[in-house]
């Protein structure tokens, strides 16, 4: 399919979103309700992952390095 402009491509993507989720058949106010709920849920997921994922990843790395790194330190102490 050839799109004359980027705006036409975006409107085709919006049309696909309407068809796949099935909200193409709904009335405009129902479409707004569904889209607002969906995008607020996605926004909350993005915000939560931005705030919490680095902290969790750092804690997880410390935990795993604590197991392996700590083992080698104690054997070195025994040898010494």
């Amino acid at each position: 399919m050839n799109f004359k402009s980027f705006r036409e491509y975006l409107s085709w993507l919006y049309y696909q979103y309407l068809l796949i989720t099935g909200i193409y058949v709904l009335e405009p106010w129902e479409k707004s309700i569904f889209s607002s709920i969906l995008f607020s849920a996605i926004g909350m997921v993005i915000y939560t992952s931005y705030v919490f994922v680095p902290i969790h990843v750092r804690l997880a790395l410390e935990f795993f390095s604590g197991i392996f790194g700590g083992q080698s330190e104690s054997t070195m102490a025994l040898i010494n």
């Binding site: 796949i20 989720t21 193409y24 709904l26 569904f34």
Partner: protein, 542 residues
């Protein structure tokens, strides 16, 4: 576990290759007993892609949630209720409108209702005129704008041989018949409604089908639903295909016989049911069944598949059952001489006990017929509900059938019939091949003029119908409850009246709409065009 015929012969002495069939695992696309078929039997029902199935269920889930929301608003009168409701006095009784079909009708069908019941204001031939109508309140009410959409290519009418026309020899003969007999008959067949034109029609139909005698009825649906009760009763067994038409199901239920259903076009399932029926007899008393009637259709219009008639006939002879063949869509449309599915497979019409068909599809008229042995038809003349109580066929309609049938048989002195048959089979092959090549999932047999194209998602049902109408092509889209819930489809009916240009226009528009709506789900590799000398060289090296 596949046993060869030789080992089975030694085991229990049954001289029959069907015992071997009983143990072979099912594979719908492979023809068992290919010696019964004179040409290859190509059918395909490609599996639903998993992602598409998941997204379809998700779409239906979202629409169900919104359906509950709207029902809640309607119940608490926040929104005006425009749908059927029970009265206040009936609120304590069993609810009438709460089952899923009514929920589905209120909340999904209503939203895309403009794709069905479109008024046509011309002959439904290859091109037709539609009355333009708009809805301002989301399909609850419609208004005609006063304009007419002209020359819409008609891909939805069952006009297989193109006899739905208002000029030509058939229309002239029908006008003469109206001038001679009038339009109404005002009586049933048994009383005063038996005209000489009906007798002529019945003799012609019997000659066309190659049977001893036949009888014509005024309505195709009533032919099935009123005659099966006359043929079977309590103590009989009806084996009917999974996907049989509503008229056959209604007729079987009205008969009061036991009904058992076998999987669609699946001969192993049918054989198993036959063997169980003969071995165990009636349910509690274990007496033998009075008769066993196998009910199948020639072409199944929702799937586009053709019945495996040689195998059914072989099974019927082996187990001594009777066969009722409903050729509603296949009469006139299949076979080198247009004589239906029996002609297509090259079988003897005397093998099918009851040949039923309708005149609505290929003959451009209305009504149905039943053909068979003389004793059977004489019995039906006295005992069929339709003959006793329903008004007989109208004379211009009977004359239209007579002229179109003579045209197909070649007895009107022109080659029009043979041309139309050839044009239909060429159009069918071309249309199916092109749609497959474009990448759509098409169900059914390669020779059937009914072409179902899969859509799957609920929103695409409405979008497809509307987009095709914008491009001036009228199509029929089908969803639940006529099909399983995720397998909604668009059904094209190819006609002999379509020229190559019309088919090309329709194919181009389908291609465009397919890209716009992303309908090309097929995952089969397309055969590459032949490379000529390079292909031969690779053969030589082997």
């Amino acid at each position: 576990l596949a046993l060869s015929p030789h080992t089975v012969l030694k085991m229990d002495g049954w001289m029959d290759v069907y015992i071997c069939n009983f143990f072979v695992p099912q594979n719908q696309n492979v023809t068992h007993n290919s010696s019964l078929y004179k040409k290859p039997f190509e059918e395909s029902f490609e599996e639903t892609p998993l992602l598409v199935a998941v997204l379809t269920y998700m779409g239906y889930g979202i629409l169900t949630i919104f359906g509950y929301l709207r029902d809640f608003l309607r119940h608490w009168s926040i929104e005006k209720c425009q749908v059927a409701r029970e009265k206040e006095e009936q609120k304590d009784f069993v609810p009438l409108y709460q089952d899923f079909e009514n929920f589905y009708t209120r909340n999904l069908y209503m939203r895309i209702r403009d794709n069905w019941n479109r008024p046509i204001c011309s002959v439904p031939g290859a091109k037709m005129d539609l009355v333009e109508s708009v809805s301002h309140d989301f399909n609850w009410t419609f208004e005609h704008t006063g304009r007419v959409v002209k020359d819409v290519i008609n891909m939805g009418s069952y006009n297989y041989l193109g006899f739905a026309e208002n000029n030509g020899a058939c229309a002239d003969a029908a006008i003469e018949a109206t001038e001679k007999y009038g339009v109404g008959v005002a009586s049933s067949r048994c009383e005063m409604g038996n005209l000489d034109i009906h007798e002529e029609l019945e003799r012609l139909v019997a000659r066309f089908l190659g049977v001893e005698s036949s009888m014509a009825f005024g309505m195709g649906f009533a032919t099935n639903s009123m005659n099966i009760p006359a043929l079977t009763g309590k103590g009989c067994l009806i084996l009917s295909d999974e996907l049989n038409h509503a008229s056959l199901v209604l007729g079987a239920r009205l008969a009061g016989s036991t009904i058992r259903v076998f999987k669609h076009n699946n001969m192993q399932s049918l054989e198993k049911l036959l063997r169980d029926a003969i071995a165990h007899g009636q349910p509690r008393t274990h007496r033998p069944w009075k008769k066993i009637l196998i009910v199948v259709e020639g072409i199944y219009s929702m799937e586009g598949s053709i019945v495996r008639l040689p195998e059914v006939v072989a099974l019927k002879k082996r187990y001594k059952a009777y066969l009722y063949l409903d050729e509603a869509h296949s009469i006139g449309a299949l076979g080198p001489n247009g004589r239906g599915v029996v002609d297509y497979f090259g079988l003897d019409p005397k093998d099918v006990d009851i040949m039923m068909g309708t005149f609505t599809k290929s003959f451009g008229a209305a009504g149905g017929y039943i053909g068979g042995k003389k004793e059977l038809i004489d019995y039906l003349r006295c005992h069929s509900h339709s003959a006793l109580y329903a008004i007989s066929m109208s004379p211009p309609v009977a004359q239209q059938i007579i002229s179109s049938m003579k045209s197909i048989m070649g007895e009107d002195g022109t080659t029009l019939g043979a041309d139309r048959l050839r044009q239909l089979s060429e159009n069918t092959t071309y249309f199916r091949r092109k749609l497959r090549e474009m990448g759509f999932i098409i169900y059914g047999n390669d020779d059937s003029p009914v072409v179902p194209m899969m859509l799957y998602m609920p929103a695409k049902i409405g979008a497809f119908g509307r987009e095709m109408l914008k491009r001036n092509i009228g199509t029929v889209v089908v969803g639940f409850p006529a099909t399983p819930i995720i397998e909604s489809r668009a059904r094209f009916c190819v006609s002999a009246a379509h020229t190559r240009e019309m088919l090309d226009t329709a194919l181009e528009a389908t291609d465009e709409v397919g890209d716009l709506l992303q309908l090309k789900y097929s995952r089969r590799e397309q055969p590459l065009p032949s490379l000529g000398w390079m292909a031969e060289e690779s053969l030589l090296q082997d």
